[in-house]
């Protein structure tokens, strides 16, 4: 189902939760909405579902205007499914009944016989791995189990437009990975349009056809995961999605001279023109090379302010003169809080070489 | 009277509907209507029964709403009728049967007629009082100190009537009520509550309408009625026809029937003192001839009722 939002604005009282949102979604697309807490993701979904009316602009579904300042086609007429961020489970229905409900009522869900419904319920229970819990009431479920019920209810009728508001936030990594796969499979199978809100950029990058990055009620950038990750057009996207540290300095064509150590040169062929215009060089945490202070090598001086063990990696936060940066190293580095270090890039000094050559296989 | 067709203009057999509003006890009203219907089987009588105050309020409200539904009215006392008369709500009817009723119980303009005699007398708890009093003055004496009950004239028409009559009698006047007040009288809403209070022994003396005491006594309640020597105020449960009565003929026949010997005998059988001269009172009650009746002019009572109540209220108010 195609969706179009034109110049959408939404105010709560005087608070502008959404500003001038323009977005077109094609039938069958998988769109992830990514953005920090409070940026308006849920509000956007609620507008699409028809629970809220925009204070400005209009929303069309399948070329038909369904929402503007004055009118709003009610949710049940929109052929949608939705996973609510806060689950919204019905306390008087058990797991199975939750899944059966949309099968019985969704008006776009083809009429099913009782046995077909039963089969579908079992199918969906399988997907969310809740077969053993089908007779449980919501109060007797764990947080993650509740969330899976909410997911199951939304996908059961295979709606043409599926709105998901952080549907996996309460699940452990393992299960989350499985659910991701299930959602992707579902997407392939039903060709449903999916609009998927998440705070986890890994999820967005992995699953979406396109990602919409939002900030403070506005859209910052729309693009494929690769575009968003590798070609951020704004500092916000660079730091939010790519987790990039933005080094300030001077650009001379494709070469960057960091402000904190003018002797260094970084290759910057792959850096977007927007960054160059701002005099910034984005460095992702794992791109840094960390040298101990006694190494007597040139680099940007910084001090370790936090160390987080991550199994295969260690994440440091370092304080440089320009601000706080994040640095990831493999698990064998061994710096402690307060250590003085120097940061460089692999490609510094090697101006003539390509920024980084594609390699077939990683040699970690 | 909204009730549609009035077919019975001919004097022979009457028909149609008749709305009878009354404050008589339920059973009494029913017996009366049954007896009437035996005579006029085609008249369809509907009874509305409630307290006098409620009945009158209802009629007033009906008037306010534009159409009084009642045809025949029978409630406790003459003053109430006087007020309706003043509001020109009653129909004058010279009943042939009225001749046998003492003249002072029939309205001058034949708008209402007394139907029985109900005196207000003393009620005494027989378990606690062995020495039966003889005078109203017992209420102002030590024996009744904080030990007597009477109905409130503010709530009960009959009590208001008694208040008017007694205060206008030279032997009592307002002094009597002042003394009662000083003696710690308890005021209740109506007669029923007085009887209950005395029967239950909450107080030993009470001022109450006679027939309910006789009835209770007959059933075995520890109460008895005492007619004080000074005489008793009497209410007559008058009957009258509403001015806009739609079924006038049936209404007139109803009044005639109530006043007739047959109708009066019915009252006696139920347990009331009849108003028709020359008939016997039921067991335990006096006839009208045996009673000394304390009376006052009905018109005057009507005029000064609000004033009386006000004075009473002041007297008994905190």
């Amino acid at each position: 189902m195609s969706v179009k939002m034109e110049q959408i604005g939404k105010k709560f009282g005087t608070f502008e939760a959404l500003k001038q949102i323009d977005l077109e979604v094609e039938t069958g697309e998988f769109i992830a909405i990514l953005g920090p807490s409070g940026c308006g993701k849920t509000t956007l979904l609620r507008l699409l579902a028809g629970f809220l009316s925009p204070t400005d602009g209009q929303i069309s579904i399948e070329e038909e205007e369904v929402g503007n300042r004055k009118k709003s086609v009610p949710p049940e007429k929109r052929n949608i499914g939705m996973v609510f961020q806060q689950f919204a489970l019905w306390p008087h229905l058990n797991v199975e009944e939750h899944i059966k409900f949309p099968l019985e009522h969704h008006r776009f869900c083809s009429k099913m016989s009782t046995s077909e419904k039963k089969k579908r319920v079992e199918e969906v229970l399988d997907i969310v791995e809740l077969n053993l819990f089908k007779k449980r009431m919501p109060q007797a479920l764990s947080g993650g189990q509740k969330q899976r019920v909410a997911l199951a209810r939304a996908i059961a009728p295979s709606p043409a437009l599926l709105l998901m508001d952080e549907p996996l936030s309460n699940l452990d990594a393992e299960l989350r990975m499985e659910m991701r796969k299930e959602i992707q499979a579902l997407h392939r199978l039903t060709k449903a349009t999916i609009i998927y809100v998440t705070h986890d950029q890994g999820e967005a990058l992995a699953m979406a056809d396109r990602i919409v990055v939002m900030n403070k009620g506005e859209i910052e950038q729309v693009g494929t995961p690769k575009e968003i990750y590798t070609k951020p057009t704004s500092t916000f996207v660079a730091s939010f999605v790519g987790k990039a540290n933005l080094l300030k300095g001077e650009w001379q064509e494709d070469t960057f001279r960091p402000g904190l150590n003018k002797a260094l040169r970084f290759n910057g062929e792959a850096v977007t023109k927007e960054m160059k215009a701002k005099g910034l060089y984005p460095v992702r945490p794992e791109q840094f090379q960390v040298l101990p202070s006694d190494a007597n090598k040139e680099g940007i001086p910084a001090v370790i302010t936090s160390v987080q063990y991550q199994g295969k990696e260690i994440h440091y936060t370092v304080q440089a003169e320009q601000g706080e940066w994040t640095v990831h190293t493999d698990m064998f580095s061994n710096f402690s809080l307060g250590d003085q270090i120097f940061l460089t890039l692999e490609n510094s000094f090697r101006e003539k070489e390509a920024y980084r050559r594609p390699q077939l296989v990683r040699q970690s | 009277a909204c009730s549609g067709e009035t077919s019975g203009k001919e004097s022979g057999d009457l028909s149609g509907e008749l709305n009878f509003y009354t404050s008589q006890p339920d059973a009494d009203a029913e017996q009366l209507v049954e007896a009437y219907k035996e005579k006029y089987p085609d008249v369809d009588v509907s009874i509305y029964r409630s307290g006098t105050e409620e009945v009158i309020s209802k009629i007033q409200a009906e008037k306010e709403a534009g159409d009084v539904q009642a045809d025949v009215l029978l409630v406790a006392d003459a003053v109430t009728f006087e007020s309706l008369k003043q509001q020109e709500m009653l129909l004058s009817y010279e009943s042939e049967e009225a001749g046998a009723i003492p003249a002072n119980f029939v309205d001058e303009e034949n708008m209402y007629f007394g139907t029985k005699v109900m005196s207000t007398a003393l009620v005494v708890n027989t378990e606690n009082v062995t020495d039966l009093p003889t005078s109203w003055n017992v209420l102002t004496e030590e024996a009744a100190n904080n030990n007597m009950i009477m109905p409130s004239p503010l709530y009960s028409g009959a009590a208001a009537y008694n208040l008017g009559v007694i205060t206008r009698d030279d032997r009592f006047g307002w002094d009597f009520y002042e003394n009662i007040e000083a003696n710690g009288a308890t005021i209740t809403q109506g007669n029923g509550a007085v009887l209950k209070g005395v029967a239950a022994g909450e107080a030993d003396y009470g001022m109450v309408v006679d027939f309910i005491v006789a009835r209770a006594e007959a059933e075995g309640s520890p109460v008895t009625i005492v007619y004080p020597e000074e005489g008793v105020p009497v209410i007559t449960e008058p009957i009258g026809i509403m001015k806009d009565a739609e079924n006038e003929d049936a209404a007139k026949a109803f009044v005639d029937f109530v006043l007739s010997e047959e109708g009066q005998q019915l009252a006696v059988d139920i347990g009331y003192t009849p108003i028709r001269e020359g008939m016997d009172a039921p067991e335990g009650l006096k006839t009208i001839d045996e009673m000394d009746v304390i009376e006052a002019d009905v018109k005057e009572l009507y005029k000064s009722r609000e004033e009386d109540k006000g004075r009473f209220n002041q007297l008994f108010g905190e």
């Binding site: 070329e63 038909e64 086609v73 009610p74 949710p75 499914g81 609510f84 919204a88 019905w90 306390p91 008087h92 229905l93 409900f101 949309p102 019985e104 009522h105 969704h106 776009f108 869900c109 939304a154 | 909204c2 006890p25 339920d26 509907s46 009874i47 409630s50 105050e53 409620e54 309020s57 209802k58 007033q60 409200a61 306010e64 709403a65 534009g66 539904q69 003053v79 007020s83 509001q87 503010l154 308890t186 005021i187 209740t188 809403q189 109506g190 007669n191 029923g192 209950k196 005395v198 029967a199 239950a200 309910i212 209770a216 059933e219 075995g220 309640s221 520890p222 009507y302 209220n313 905190e318």
Partner: protein
């Protein structure tokens, strides 16, 4: 894209706009219906208060307001209503808390005793209380056994009125709060406990504010019930010469003279103003109350009383003994003696009163049947319309429905007598000159009951709707369901306990209604109340108590039956 397909675009717009119009039409119709049913009677009353000698005038008001007696009465009324409402709320909330949250036993059984004070006619409970506390009563005997002397309590006083009113009307608060309490998510209280608040502080700062919809609704109904009650202030206030609005209005109504009615109407308007006060307090409270996450009634105890439990149970049952059993037993005893006032000894005991009621009086049966019919229909219609209104009032609050709620509350606030008279004004000739015969048939009673008791259902349902979070409906809607199926499968199950407590109140009040019926009944349409009233008035206290005992006995048996059916059913379903 917008301009290429004009047909496709216009169609739904038109359909939508016509729907919009029909919605508007429905709104207007509802408004008109409420105007007619609830406001016309009051309108006539207000009109009357501005009339003198058929002329429009403010004289009634100036006269009344200049009369110091009026201010006395108003003062008394406010004291009485506030005091008794406070007692009712305190008792109601405390008991609701104990039942909803603690592990006391036999809660289901207690339910029966909770409602008894509310359905025992007030003249009976008042009498029972006065007898209990009177010089020869049980209390007197108990007190005299004590080593020190205690003043006998004089119920014939303002304090007495407040006390008995409070004890008669706490069930309203109890019934509307207990479900709300059960629906408060446990975690909200736990969050308070881990924040260091004691059980008591948690109750004060978290539970109470969250239970506000129920408490305010129940308190408001108790407020109105206290305001319009006639029996108790009459019985206890007349001896003490305390007049409050309801009794004072009655005095005016039964007074003579051309201004009697007008004065009564004017006073009724004043009473309406006092009722407004209650409505505003209620709105203020409800404004503060917030919707909570929707849960089903959680009947598992939240506080284990441990050793204290037995003492609290003893206390509770003594309380029931006093507030429910004593009046009930005293009524039963009265109904068994052969004549009023006789001692309750073996030779005086008889069943003849019951015999009389069942054998000689076909009316009793008819009355029970009529009352059941009236109460049943009123309740059913009330459930549907009351819940619809409550939904609309809570989900789309606006000036219109705020005003409608006010209009709906008024008839319950007016004393029964005034209310009944207003009904006559309004319904005898709803269109001047045309009498459809509603007045004078059983229909008027039905309309009167509906008008008067609709607010009970509305409050019950509003309380319930306030406890259902909008996301419950949103989830249903994205699942494709709206209208019928959403109501049947999602809303009704969640609302049911609240709706039922409202309906329960409507049913019981309508079943035992006395004042309004005694003015509006007509031949062959007598109700339970009318029969009791006429026995009582004729001095047949033994009959009236016998009849009351039968009625209350039937209600208790009915409740017990429900209780057993429920436990049986649960056991069966539980096994399956």
């Amino acid at each position: 894209m917008n301009t290429t397909q004009p047909n496709k675009r216009i169609m739904p717009t038109r359909a939508l706009s016509s729907m919009f119009h029909s919605k508007k039409l429905g709104k207007i119709l509802a408004l008109v219906a409420i105007l007619i049913i609830f406001l016309v009677p009051i309108y006539r009353l207000v009109l009357l208060s501005f009339q003198q000698d058929g002329q429009l005038s403010l004289a009634n008001y100036t006269n009344l307001l200049m009369d110091p007696k009026t201010w006395d009465v108003l003062y008394n009324t406010v004291i009485m209503v506030l005091g008794s409402t406070l007692i009712a709320v305190t008792l109601g909330v405390t008991l609701a808390f104990l039942v909803a949250y603690t592990d006391i036993r036999a809660k289901k059984l207690m339910q029966i005793f909770f409602v008894l004070p509310f359905i025992i006619p007030s003249y009976i409970s008042t009498l029972a209380w006065t007898q209990f506390l009177g010089a020869n009563g049980l209390y007197g005997k108990m007190v005299s056994a004590l080593p020190f002397s205690l003043e006998p309590i004089n119920l014939y006083s303002m304090a007495g009125i407040i006390f008995v009113l409070g004890f008669s009307h706490y069930p309203l608060v109890y019934l509307l709060s207990v479900g709300v309490l059960r629906k408060i998510p446990r975690e909200l209280e736990q969050a308070s406990r881990v924040s260091g608040a004691s059980a008591f502080n948690t109750f004060k700062k978290v539970t109470l504010p969250l239970a506000l919809p129920g408490i305010a609704s129940g308190g408001f109904l108790a407020f109105l019930a206290n305001l319009d009650n006639f029996g108790i202030p009459a019985f206890l206030g007349i001896p003490a010469q305390i007049s409050v609005l309801s009794t004072y209005i009655y005095q005016q109504v039964v007074g003579f003279g051309p201004t009697a009615f007008e004065r009564a109407a004017t006073l009724s308007v004043l009473l309406g103003v006092v009722a407004l006060l209650g409505i505003f307090i209620q709105w203020l409270l409800l404004k503060k109350s917030k919707r909570i996450e929707t849960t089903v009634e959680d009947k598992k105890p939240r506080f284990l009383l441990g050793k204290k439990r037995i003492w609290i149970e003893v206390f509770l049952w003594s309380f029931f003994l006093l507030s429910s059993v004593v009046p009930f037993v005293s009524m039963g005893m009265t109904s068994l003696v052969s004549a009023y006032g006789l001692d309750f000894t073996l030779e005086n005991i008889t069943l003849k009163n019951y015999q009389y009621i069942f054998e000689t009086s076909a009316k009793s049966e008819r009355a029970i049947f009529n009352s059941l019919k009236l109460a049943g229909i009123t309740t059913l219609i009330g459930i549907v319309l009351g819940t619809a209104f409550a939904y609309y009032r809570v989900r789309r609050p606006n000036k219109t429905n705020q005003f409608q709620e006010l209009a709906i509350s008024m008839p319950y606030a007016l004393p029964g007598t005034v209310m009944a008279l207003s009904m006559i004004f309004a319904w005898m000739e709803p269109i001047p000159g045309f009498n459809p015969g509603i007045y004078g048939s059983i229909l008027i009673l039905f309309i009167a009951y509906f008008t008067r008791f609709f607010i009970l259902q509305v409050r019950g349902s509003i309380t319930a709707v306030m406890q259902v979070d909008i996301t419950m409906e949103e989830a249903a809607q994205v699942s494709g369901s709206n209208g019928y199926s959403k109501w049947r499968k999602i809303l009704l199950p969640l609302l049911l306990p609240g709706i039922l407590s409202g309906a329960f109140l409507v049913f019981l009040t309508a079943l035992t209604e006395l004042t309004v019926s005694s003015l509006l009944w007509s031949s062959n349409a007598e109700t339970i109340g009318v029969v009791i009233f006429s026995f009582e008035q004729a001095g047949y206290s033994t009959y009236s108590t016998a009849f009351s005992s039968v009625i209350i006995g039937l209600i208790v048996v009915g409740m017990l039956l429900l209780y057993f059916i429920e436990t049986y059913w649960k056991r069966k379903v539980g096994k399956a």
